[in-house]
Symmetry: C2
Subunit: 510 residues, 2 copies
């Protein structure tokens, strides 16, 4: 049989019912593996016109996966297992993850799922056109339908306090609007204070000459390769390709792939998308090999995943130590760097400028973009906000939070793809990732007081080991909230993030 | 819904039962599509250690495919459809292909399939070791078991005259040892005559200085790209990658991929593997788009497929016209070519030298290698030959056919992977491909008398159109034998091949 590294599956799973479930789950996992491979291929190497045959295959496999998950005999196995008294944490994790997967199919009427899927498919096309034509009116009826179907879905899924909580939970297990409110109540005033002082006192530049530098794509590929090599990965389990929208995909614990992009200007865009995806990839790569082909085989939630990517991208990648350490690599490969110092590079990596566009935003202003979307989504789902009012509300909120107003729908309410895909509840996981990455920084430095020196020496072994021990190796064993408690002995705490912002942007110590 | 080009599915399939079958078949096709994508990925870009997770997924999907094909309700649909009176040729083709797929699972006891699969898996590993260590004794017990299981399989599958026919039919629908005997009865004496005269009179060289020329891999990639572009393909539906063993894989009619290899020496190895795979790819690419996701969606048999690859590789690629036409491309990219003429290149492409190794053989001696394997396989399956006698019989046959004797098992009986994979009955399809490629040449020249001139001008449009019309667009609609009748108005006729050999190698006219 398969050799699963040092740790064999049987050391983690012993309950007969669970073993039976895992055996049956192998096919579901295999469909996920195949869908991941097909997804990767579609974005990287698939010939353009293969798309229609690909979509037949993807929809057939997706339907089959749903059918297997909702097969009465499979559900009854999971139900039975959930009543077992002596399950260990891993076995409980298996039951929990499966119950969550099943729940969606069990509680949402197939007709509603079908309508949501169909509407979202049309809406995505219309959204793209609307954005290009700067016409909110074209998109409005689709968005209205999506909001009303999402509200209906929330009611079917159930919630304790706010219907939006049902949707939040789809993306971040257990997350409620009370949690998100708490995060913003603490971070918003503190971040506002940091932002206005740093802009006023010009502590960080808003623009940088390096943004205009054109780079050679092959040279930049080498930079990205060398940097990820310094971070460290096993080339037998990892690869890096190119796609329009960078992403990470785990085909398995031993086969994780990232993509990045090369636009030939503003090299930090390419570098930081690589570092960001590296963070995601490491989470998957450092999972426990005994979880191969089980429901615990990947990262537990979007928020925790984003904390890993943001930790590498921001906490490490945008730090003074890293800038000093990466400088020789940049200088060796990008000829225009020779006119600059590593501190120039640091300020280039850390320009702070309120932007209309979320994906172009810096660490300081980023979360305001999420706050804006969060408030609008919550109001839409509760019915307090009408779709027709969104453009106006969007502009007012941008003005209130960042003091800028979009002049077009395309740079305002139409900028993100998420709503067209009916992904209400997704945005807050981005802020969660930022918050948790700072919380990780706080605790990792307690245990590795020479953290900055390690980064400066490009010595990431202990840092990766810490992340593996605290986060990665658990896969989906614990809920995000349980994992935070286990990791830090405290729950989600936004104070670490605000302290990080002050320390970096006002005290200039990071 | 999907737009399927100009020809919609409904123009070809109207019977209600068939439409029902095609709807259900979509999932089976999707599994095939996914398995093809996974197979391509495994050979090209998969990180090395992804192999174990990949093998879980591939075996789960393969088992599921088998389960769907043998699902009683699916079988009964196919059985019912086979009794329908008014099916058109396409609909009959659907029933025929499905009956063939089902038959294997229906007639072979699952225990036997399992044992064959398990033994073959072990045998492949042992074969590789035995070949490296030049030890037939190590491999012998595995081969004995495979032969005995294959004989058992033949009995379950059934046959009219010879048990080997049951195995031949697995690879080439309807092919019998009577057919193969007929091919060799005609080709062997004629080929022997050609071979001895051409060697005696030194009409073609046995060696060529160009074999020693080292090439730049990037330059050779360009040659392969330019040559396939001259042949013509739609880059939106085709791609070319690198793998150790070149292959063609159709993920769909609109997504066909080939691989080639670059060993840095003997550039014809890289060029002709590319041309060979192009021939396979064109067959899949020029299939009827209305067959997408149906059982007719790919080439009908190994023999017909090989005729397409050999037609491009040998009939076109090794002809005087092509050598003259490709010469400027070679000269532009490979600097060592400048010391040679296009006729030098022609003789380099057409060295004729009896070789111990099948895959290194030329057009003239190649079929003797198949004859040898065919006779041994037939004797093994009938029980007239014992595995222990193979090495001796192999050496004697090589001596008899080509006048050379292997000195090691590795260059003799252990050279091919096929037997370790239990692929008895596969080899004859190679010779079939050679025979049919010459038969195609005979008939295409009748309709395109300026065939050579077209090749000389790199004008392949009418040639590809002819192949599409006669062969490609039918997919698996007709059996190989029916297709030959339809194509040529005659059955498999080896005389065209012997005529081709004489014309090329004695009269020097091709």
């Amino acid at each position: 049989m398969l050799t699963m590294g040092d740790e064999s599956m049987s050391a983690f799973f012993t309950n007969e019912l669970i073993l039976d479930i895992l055996e049956k789950y192998k096919l579901i996992w295999s469909l996920d593996h195949s869908l991941a491979a097909l997804g990767w291929d579609s974005e990287t190497y698939m010939p353009e016109e293969g798309v229609e045959e690909r979509s037949i295959s993807v929809s057939q496999l997706t339907l089959l996966k749903q059918k297997l998950l909702t097969d009465p005999s499979f559900i009854s196995l999971v139900d039975k297992a959930s009543e077992e008294k002596d399950l260990n944490d891993y076995e409980k994790g298996v039951v929990r993850v499966l119950e969550r997967s099943i729940k969606v199919y069990r509680q949402l009427p197939p007709k509603l799922v079908e309508e949501l899927t169909k509407t979202a498919e049309e809406a995505k096309v219309v959204w793209r056109r609307s954005r290009n034509e700067n016409s909110f009116q074209t998109f409005q009826p689709y968005l209205e339908k999506i909001v009303s179907l999402s509200r209906e879905a929330a009611n079917h899924l159930g919630y304790k306090e706010h219907p939006y909580d049902a949707l939040l939970d789809l993306y971040e297990e257990g997350l409620t609007s009370r949690d998100v409110d708490n995060v913003f109540n603490i971070t918003v005033p503190a971040t506002k204070a940091v932002l206005s002082r740093l802009l006023e006192e010009k502590l960080f530049p808003q623009k940088h000459p390096l943004e205009e530098a054109s780079y050679d794509v092959e040279a930049m590929k080498k930079v990205n390769r060398v940097v990820t090599e310094k971070f460290g990965y096993d080339p037998k389990r990892f690869r890096m390709d190119i796609s329009t929208h960078p992403f990470t995909i785990g085909l398995g614990i031993r086969d994780v792939r990232i993509t990045t992009r090369y636009e030939g200007k503003d090299f930090k865009a390419s570098l930081f998308s690589t570092i960001h995806e590296y963070g995601h990839a490491l989470y998957e790569l450092q999972n426990n090999e005994a979880f191969i082909s089980t429901p615990l085989a990947s990262g537990v939630s979007l928020g925790i995943h984003e904390s890993q990517s943001r930790f590498w991208e921001n906490v490490i990648g945008r730090s003074r130590s890293f800038c000093e350490a990466v400088f020789p690599i940049l200088k060796d490969n990008l000829n225009f760097i020779s006119q600059f110092t590593w501190e120039d590079v640091y300020y280039y990596f850390n320009t702070v400028k309120p932007s209309l566009i979320r994906v172009d935003s810096d660490e300081v202003s980023y979360n305001f973009h999420i706050l804006l979307r969060y408030r609008l989504e919550k109001g839409l789902i509760s019915g307090e906000i009408n779709v027709s009012d969104l453009p106006e509300l969007w502009c007012n909120a941008m003005d209130e939070y960042l003091g800028i107003r979009p002049k077009t729908y395309s740079e305002g309410v139409l900028q993100d793809i998420h709503w067209s895909q009916a992904s209400f509840g997704y945005f807050p996981t981005y802020t969660l990732g930022n918050i948790i990455s700072a919380q990780i920084r706080h605790y990792i430095i307690k245990e590795l007081p020479d953290f900055n020196e390690r980064v400066l020496n490009m010595d990431f072994t202990s840092i990766k080991e810490w992340l593996k021990e605290k986060v990665h190796r658990w896969g989906s064993t614990y809920t995000p909230k349980m994992l935070l408690e286990k990791m830090f002995g405290e729950e989600l705490n936004p104070e670490h993030f605000t302290a990080y912002l002050r320390e970096k942007y006002l005290n200039k110590k990071i």
